[in-house]
Symmetry: C2
């Protein structure tokens, strides 16, 4: 997606060969107009799949999921990272290890909001090693729902997450695919071949 | 706001005389069409204030803030609850005690995204004792920015937060104001007088 790639080039900051900081428009400050375009793009890509629910993870997935849900006209669920006092019902839970934060989080979704009739689109901001996507997938499986695909804003294609998911036959749509962050420079995957 | 009040009546669950659960459409599952209407409503109410930034708190404030930002065409910042490894710049910080979760969180906003020229609209899902709003206000003050108002989805008008903020001369716009949750029933504040 040209618009997102341009934004990454202009406002992203490469902190190391594995860390790209996008705090200026995705995960601390949000560009709401960009998020609207992103939501429209995901809605276009998954419009034929009969999606009934969008599942994301707090917090950075919420804005793009909200916009995708608005364009597809379906509810959005965000998995919670900790149990709160008002989230004490029957829960699907999964463990997600964050390499960035070096900690493991239990994520949880109430039984009330996903069931076996649902066709779920998982959305997240980053795909690197795939831990968050696998945690969300595990929740979809527990609900007996159908996974229709995974939408990602930024895939670090030099890490193994995307390949692992695609090898399982899952449709993964990443709006920007980064081949390398070496030498402080963002290099995108060439778009010649299909992803 | 009629639409939000109806949603609260139909899908909210009163857990006690002080706890209203809105997990079905605000803070676990999100109704994206409702959020669009909420964003439009806040944009209308604050359209004359020259807002340059919207400030909210992860996670439940993000969806309504995204929509308000989209309608006002201004960036949204969500304060982070913990320091993450990629959020290690110069930070404005504040301490917020959550009575619901019975814990204190440090919230943080990077210096990069709010400055003395900004006119800030604070948004949050609930206003009860006012702790979160005061924490966000403290961040606006540290930045030397101007606070133009506070937008709230659901105000528990039987708690002291809203009165405290209004007594400080702050414009607080709450889309639904709850007078009581006694006897398992949601009673809204009568709309005869101005709020």
């Amino acid at each position: 997606m040209e618009l997102l790639e341009r934004k990454i080039r202009e406002e992203g900051r490469v902190l190391s060969a594995s860390v790209l900081k996008v705090d200026a428009f995705i995960n601390h400050q949000i560009d709401p107009v960009l998020m609207d375009s992103i939501g429209r793009e995901f809605a276009d890509r998954f419009s034929g799949e009969g999606i009934t629910k969008i599942l994301t993870l707090e917090s950075s997935g919420i804005a793009p999921a909200q916009m995708t849900g608005l364009h597809l006209q379906v509810p959005v669920i965000f998995a919670r990272k900790r149990r709160s006092l008002t989230l004490n019902d029957q829960l699907y839970t999964s463990e997600v290890y964050s390499f960035t934060k070096e900690q493991s989080n239990e994520i949880a979704v109430s039984h009330d909001f996903i069931n076996a009739d649902d066709h779920v689109l998982i959305l997240d901001d980053f795909l690197a090693n795939g831990q968050a996507a696998l945690g969300l997938l595990h929740i979809v499986e527990q609900a007996g729902a159908s996974l229709e695909g995974i939408g990602i804003l930024i895939e670090k294609a030099f890490q193994e997450g995307g390949e692992g998911l695609r090898n399982r036959g899952i449709r993964v749509e990443s709006l920007a695919r980064i081949a390398s962050l070496e030498n402080g420079r963002v290099q995108f995957v060439e778009k010649v071949g299909a992803q």
